[in-house]
């Protein structure tokens, strides 16, 4: 398979995703509650033609093999997985766009409730253990987006609110969400600009943009922009708005052809910050990541702790159109993604060379425990979890995945 084909495959695949996934909110660091039992699950794309996914039970993410064979709950294809409270939510298209919740009952994961919506969702935010926000977005045309507030206990729609921001009818571009974060009475929605014809080309991406919405009204407060870097996130990323211990939000732009930006924005891949309590970009903070790292661009960013974030990074030839969407190919023969550690406070970067290159994917499968990031990596020749210690910028291999790749690492604590 040549790169050109690879690009086409990745592109086509990208276009048909209906749902998105959040990073595994609410499992930041810390140790498990001693009164409760920890249950680990890995959502695996386990077969092809027809593709199938399984939420497989895992003993841990650190050793052995996690296999979906005769293990776990089979899922339709192209699902996205969320962790909230002690619940797993899978979302995707069956007979319509659907969310299904799972809980551990008597030591076993069981299906609990379902809820249906009318648009594919591409960004989510956690309100609390029992409530989540999802943003449904049209993939083309200038129709407004919708925010669904879902009660995750009984899986009902609390409300559906139409929101309209960022579309530029004259230029023929529309805003497309990549991540949301709720901070007090403000909902930050990071988005990027794409052509309104469904082509997902990015003629107007040379600026970071966030819509600030009022919560709980879900009305648009303002749009904030920053010219130091490019559009934030990338299609289906959702690890864009990352919060540190101080409540500051850090965010990245990829400015990368392989991450789906064509034409590639002029500004370099970079990192920005919004200070806790603020609703503007911090003008004193900017990392020109390409300069700092010697040519790497950010594909995904996970804040772990002590100012340190693990990043998925890549290098590319911006002039070679074969790179377009090349990081959306989990079983690629030409994987691009490497792992690195960036110190957000001291603005340093180090590559973690012991992790083999990955073909990437849509949202990353990630999980943080004991100050370490567990991350799903895969290519045509392997699929595994790697455990990255940002303090030492080293990694070791965790569990192997029996399947095409791991889509999500999920965790429930239960009595």
């Amino acid at each position: 398979m040549n790169l050109r084909k690879l690009k086409v495959v990745a592109f086509v695949a990208t276009m048909f995703i209906a749902f998105s996934c959040d990073n595994e909110n609410g499992i930041e660091g810390g140790s498990p509650d001693p009164d409760k039992t920890a249950y680990y699950f890995a959502a695996i794309e386990s077969g092809s033609d027809p593709a199938v996914e399984v939420i497989a039970n895992a003993d841990n993410f650190t050793s052995g093999e996690i296999s979906p064979i005769d293990n776990g709950i089979q899922q339709p294809t192209w699902m996205a997985y969320y962790n909230n409270g002690n619940r797993i939510i899978s979302a995707g298209y069956t007979s319509g766009p659907q969310f299904t919740s799972y809980e551990v009952v008597a030591g076993e994961l069981v299906e609990v409730e379902k809820v249906f919506v009318d648009l594919g969702v591409y960004a989510s935010a956690v309100v609390d253990d029992d409530t989540m926000l999802f943003m449904g977005a049209p993939r083309s045309g200038t129709a407004p987006k919708k925010i669904y507030e879902i009660n995750t206990i009984d899986m009902t729609l609390n409300k559906t609110v139409e929101v309209d921001f960022g579309n530029d009818a004259i230029a023929g571009t529309i805003s497309f969400p990549v991540d949301m974060k709720l901070k007090g009475d403000k909902l930050f929605v990071a988005y990027y600009m794409v052509k309104d014809d469904g082509s997902f080309s990015t003629p107007d991406a040379n600026q970071a943009r966030i819509a600030v919405l009022n919560y709980p009204e879900l009305t648009v407060d303002k749009i904030i922009t920053d010219d130091r870097t490019a559009n934030l996130g990338r299609y289906y990323s959702f690890n864009v708005l990352e919060e540190d211990e101080k409540g500051d939000i850090y965010m990245f732009s990829s400015s990368s052809l392989a991450c789906g930006f064509a034409p590639v924005p002029a500004n370099n891949s970079g990192i920005l910050r919004i200070k806790s309590g603020e609703t503007e970009f911090d003008s004193s903070y900017h990392i020109d990541f390409e300069t700092l790292s010697g040519g790497y661009k950010i594909n995904d960013l996970f804040y772990v702790g002590n100012g340190k974030a693990v990043v998925k990074v890549l290098k590319e030839d911006e002039t070679n159109s074969a790179y377009l969407w090349a990081t959306y190919s989990p079983n690629s023969e030409f994987p691009l993604i490497e792992i690195g550690v960036v110190d957000l406070y001291n603005q340093t970067f180090e590559i973690v060379s012991s992790v083999p290159k990955s073909g990437g994917g849509w949202n990353s499968a990630s999980f943080i425990e004991d100050g370490k990031l567990h991350i799903g990596m895969s290519s045509s020749s392997y699929a595994s979890i790697y455990i990255v210690d940002p303090e030492t910028a080293t990694a070791e291999k965790g569990s192997d995945i029996d399947g095409n790749y791991v889509k999500s690492l999920l965790y429930i604590e239960s009595e």
Partner: protein
């Protein structure tokens, strides 16, 4: 003298009053039923012939002491009649001094077929014509065949034949590949009464059938009787389903001048009800209980008119015909074809339509050059225009309420509209010649050629506009040569053949938005060589068949180019290749036949519809190995009660071990797993009763009951996960049919109840099919 005559007259007259009907059955020494045997009285100048079941019926007077039984290739025999006996069994002895070809004369066409070395089943539709069934439903009763229909009349369907399905099984009409007739003309709407016979080749396919079938072929032979006739039928069924078919021929016996007309019209609303758990849009919750909703946008209409003229069976040719055919269809699409179960949101306006004009020329001449050469050829031009339409700005619910979308550029299937107009020009030619070296050896060559160019426009969807802007060209050629022989008094028959395949496609590939940087020209040019052999040996009541072929199948047009809606083009597809092995046994004694066929299909570059969300692209995926067995048994009691039993077990597995074919790399977790979403254990049983003189002397009737079974099957990989495995449950369906004919089948009436118990039946992804339906058919036939 006068007195004697007088006495005789009186005697005769009195005995006439005591005339009676005798019946009998004629067999050969092996117990094989003989068809077309002459049974007559020279003296009284009356007689008859045995029917398809070897049975004759003759009205005799008690003064008739004997009848003569004669049959080509057999010694003549005399049957003595006795007044207290009305039922006779006759065994004719073979006359070995006659030529062997003569031996097969008088067998039914399907028997002749069966005795070929190929694994082949012939279905004569004589008995089926009065049924309201279409060809599909007839085929469904053959062992090894499973038909999957997504809905009612006109719905999508695929065949599975010995584990190969869809286009791996080629369908022909009179030897011409059926897909070129387009969707206007398909077996799902093809009326049984314009069909003379259906040949089903399992696995290895003879070279004259244009030769690129992978898993077998079904050849529909339409009526080509050499006399004048008219056959008209009309049937009506539940869901506003109407079908009309007319098939007629005029032939001038002196000149051989022949005109044929075939036409049909099909219509159905297909508005059966399906249960759906409706969703409350405010809460997002689905109802606890399902609501029965009507499929309101699933209608189908098709029509066809075919006129042929020329000469048959005269000095110039056995057949020289020129024909023009017009056909069109219109089909509404109710929901995403790949949704699981019934979609929460139906489509209300998505539809496809097609118009075709087909011109055909066929020439057939047998017995050229001292009766050594048979020549058979056709040329067909198919000009068609297809439209795929998804232009509505409304969103529908199951009660047909519609709301205008906020963004009127979106369609119902996806977030953009589609209005694809596709023009296809397709030219096919086939040339077949066989040469008889002598009575036992035969050589044949066949060349078939198929050229297609297609181009189109789409005012909305750039992807289609780019894909079809410049003409794409597909050329397929197959050259085949075979040698066959018939040895040991035709009990041992063999055929070996070689085929050369050439496939060429020039087109473009493009992306979602059809932009220039996503678009690049592609050129596929491939050649393949395939070989095959088939043998059969027959002794006593047992026939053994074995065959092998290394076969190639070219991608179909719609696999390459999709439909502009949910099926996305992939012009880079390569042909599929298979090694296919067959071993069959057939036991045939008196009223009892038993068939057992083992088969293996080892396929590479398996073309599979790969589903992403609601979209489908056909791709060359992997290796698949299919092994299985077909079983069939039939018997009858006094030619009144008939029993037929068929069953198939299939073991079809993914044999691609390594991810992306990198040996020693990552092993795929579905390696050696059963290929999902295909039934693997299925069968049916038919019980029928045939009788006559129900209401009058000239009538006949038949009642038949069919029970069909499909074992539960997974529609996703079986080994994945331990719970929530999606299964299509076990299905039992019953059909009951009554057929009544008057005046030697001039007037015919049939009544059928399909899915008698109104069982819930599914096919793809739990999408429900119609429940109980009532069908009435009237048919008029005059010869």
């Amino acid at each position: 003298m006068g007195r004697i005559l007088m006495l005789m007259f009186v005697l005769c007259a009195s005995k006439f009053c005591f005339s009676q009907t005798i019946t009998g059955v004629v067999r050969d020494e092996l117990g094989e039923l003989l068809v077309g045997v002459n049974v007559y009285s020279k003296e009284f100048k009356l007689g008859t012939t045995t029917d398809i079941d070897g049975v004759f019926e003759l009205e005799v007077t008690s003064s008739m002491n004997y009848v003569t039984i004669s049959y080509l290739g057999y010694h003549e025999s005399v049957l003595r009649l006795s007044t207290d006996k009305t039922n006779y069994e006759v065994v004719l002895k073979e006359d070995n001094t006659q030529l062997q070809e003569v031996l097969v004369f008088g067998k039914t066409k399907s028997e002749v077929l069966r005795e070929q070395a190929y694994s082949v089943v012939g279905v004569e539709t004589k008995d089926l014509k009065n049924m309201s069934a279409d060809v599909n439903q007839i085929l469904g009763k053959i062992s090894g065949i499973n038909i999957r229909e997504s809905g009612g009349l006109g719905s999508n369907f695929t065949y599975s034949l010995n584990g190969l399905s869809g286009n791996q099984v080629r369908i022909f009409i009179n030897g011409i590949p059926m897909d070129y007739f387009g969707s206007s003309l398909s077996l799902n709407n093809f009326p049984a009464n314009i069909v003379e016979m259906i040949e089903v080749y399992k696995g290895v396919v003879p070279i004259h059938l244009s030769s690129d079938a992978l898993g077998g072929a079904i050849n529909i032979i339409t009526d080509s009787r050499v006399d004048s006739f008219l056959d008209v039928s009309y049937s009506v069924a539940t869901y506003n389903t109407h079908r009309f078919a007319l098939n007629g021929q005029y032939r001038n016996d002196a000149s051989g001048f022949t005109v044929r007309a075939k036409t049909f019209y099909n219509y159905s609303d297909n508005n059966y009800k399906v249960p759906v758990k409706l969703v409350n849009p405010d809460t997002g919750k689905e109802d606890e209980h399902a609501t029965l909703v009507e499929r309101f946008h699933d209608g189908y209409e098709s029509k066809m008119f075919w006129l042929e003229g020329g000469v048959t069976k005269n000095k110039i040719a056995d057949e020289l015909m020129v024909g023009v055919m017009y056909s069109d269809n219109f089909k509404e699409i109710q929901q995403a074809s790949n949704a699981i179960g019934i979609a929460k949101n139906p489509y209300g306006e998505v539809a496809t339509s097609e118009q075709k004009v087909i011109t055909n020329l066929s020439f057939k001449k047998n017995g050229l050059f001292n009766k050594k050469i048979n020549f058979n050829s056709y040329v067909v031009a198919v000009l068609s225009e297809e439209v795929s339409r998804d232009t509505s700005s409304y969103r529908y619910d199951w009660f047909q309420n519609k709301t205008l979308q906020h963004d009127i550029t979106v369609g119902e299937i996806e977030q953009r509209k589609t209005l694809l107009r596709l023009k296809k020009n397709n030219y096919l030619a086939n040339l077949n010649m066989d040469y008889a070296l002598n009575n036992y050896h035969n050589l044949a060559v066949n060349y078939s050629f198929n050229y297609l160019d297609l181009r189109g426009t789409d005012d909305f969807k750039e992807q289609n506009a780019t894909q079809f802007k410049d003409p794409s060209q597909v050329a397929k050629g197959v050259f085949g040569a075979s040698y066959s022989n018939s040895l040991f008094n035709a009990s041992f028959k063999n055929v070996v053949f070689g085929k050369y395949y050439h496939y060429k496609n020039s087109s473009v590939t493009t992306g979602y938005s059809g932009l220039p940087d996503q678009t690049s020209p592609i050129e596929v040019d491939k050649s393949y060589f395939g070989i095959g052999a088939a043998s059969t040996y027959k002794f006593n009541f047992l026939q053994i068949k074995a065959s092998y072929e290394n076969a190639i199948r070219f991608p179909e047009v719609f696999e390459l180019y999709g439909n502009g809606l949910e099926i996305v083009a992939n012009p880079e597809l390569l042909p599929e290749q298979t090694h296919n092995y067959n071993l069959g046994f057939r036991y045939d004694k008196r009223q009892f036949t038993l068939g057992l066929d083992f088969f293996v299909r080892d396929i590479d570059d398996y073309i599979l519809p790969v589903i992403k969300g609601i979209k489908v692209t056909y791709k060359n995926t992997k290796s698949v190995l299919s092994k299985g067995v077909d079983f069939s048994a039939s018997t009858n009691f006094n030619r009144k009660v008939y029993l037929v039993l068929n069953g198939t077990y299939l073991d079809k597995r993914d044999t691609e071990r390594w991810q992306d074919g990198i040996v020693g790399g990552k092993e795929r977790s579905t390696y050696n797993q059963r290929v999902p979403n295909e039934p693997y254990l299925f069968g049916n049983a038919v019980v029928s009763y045939k009788g006559n003189q129900l209401f009058g002397r000239n009538d006949s009737y038949a009642v038949s009951f069919t029970e069909g079974y499909v074992h539960e099957f997974h529609y996703s990989w079986e080994n994945q996960g331990s719970r929530n495995k999606p299964i299509v449950p076990e299905q039992w369906t019953s059909d009951l049919e009554f057929v009544y004919s008057l005046e030697k089948e001039k007037y015919n009436f049939s009544f059928r109840v399909s899915n008698l118990w109104d069982a819930t039946v599914y096919d793809n992804y739990l999408q429900q099919k119609p429940g109980r339906m009532f069908h009435v058919k009237l048919r008029y036939f005059i010869n």
